[in-house]
């Protein structure tokens, strides 16, 4: 279980992720996308989910029992190769339903002061 005091807290990202042309190409190849000028719409998850995982594991959540409930992206501009993105994450809510713990995490990807993509993930920790 997550400790209740974590809910509502924002964890500023410490690391900067450099988006490489290779990482965009690898993601695009999986879905058959041939336009490599911008990242595919869900590319941001490759940065945000990893940081959420680290954050939530550090907060006591059993990642091996996590399933993805839902996902939302708001894309202010497409991610492109060369972007240096910092990910900050906020635990927006954590509640228990039918024995399952349901955690909602928002992650914001900034390039300098510019908000590039916001993601919302609902994660379900199976009882």
């Amino acid at each position: 279980m997550l400790s209740p005091d974590i809910v509502g807290r924002t964890f500023p990202g410490a690391d900067t992720t450099l988006v490489t042309a290779e990482s965009i190409a690898a993601f695009a190849a999986v879905v058959g996308e041939t336009n490599l000028d911008v990242a595919p719409p869900t590319y941001a998850i490759s940065i945000t989910l990893d940081q959420s995982q680290t954050l939530l594991q550090d907060s006591g959540l059993d990642w091996t029992r996590v399933v993805h409930g839902d996902q939302r992206f708001q894309i202010f501009r497409p991610i492109v190769a060369g972007d240096k993105l910092v990910c900050s994450s906020t635990i927006e809510s954590a509640r228990v339903m039918a024995g399952n713990e349901i955690v909602s995490v928002r992650s914001d990807l900034h390039s300098g002061p510019e908000l590039v993509v916001s993601t919302w993930s609902t994660l379900v920790v199976r009882a």
């Binding site: 879905v31 595919p40 719409p41 989910l49 399933v67 993805h68 839902d70 996902q71 497409p78």
Partner: protein
Amino acid sequence: MSTLEVGQELASKSYPINRELLVAYANASGDQNPIHQNEEFAKSVGLPDVIAHGMLTMALAGKYVSDISGSAAVKEFSARFTKPVVVPAGVDVSLVISAKVTAAENGLAKLDISASVDDVKVLGMAKATISLA
């Protein structure tokens, strides 16, 4: 893109999902959860077999949307993962995606997206907002 009209049904496309694609997606996304690659592990946690990453299904739906608008025009995209996509060894599972235009005004269009495997919906409330500019 300005030809999209409210109520318009967009043609369905099918996307094969197999074990090789799951490995490729795991490597591209960094999500190496063994339930998406290791049959023994998946069964040990109560799953019928290896399942696809929900985000792979969503990424393929994203490709469907990109083919309509271009990747750069996708402004919002959301989905619920309602049913796991089970991927047995040596099989191409066919993910079928279609969409309906629910709004088209002020340079933006909204799509309701349907994604199913064997006529069972695997995404719920899947929606995208695309720029028509």
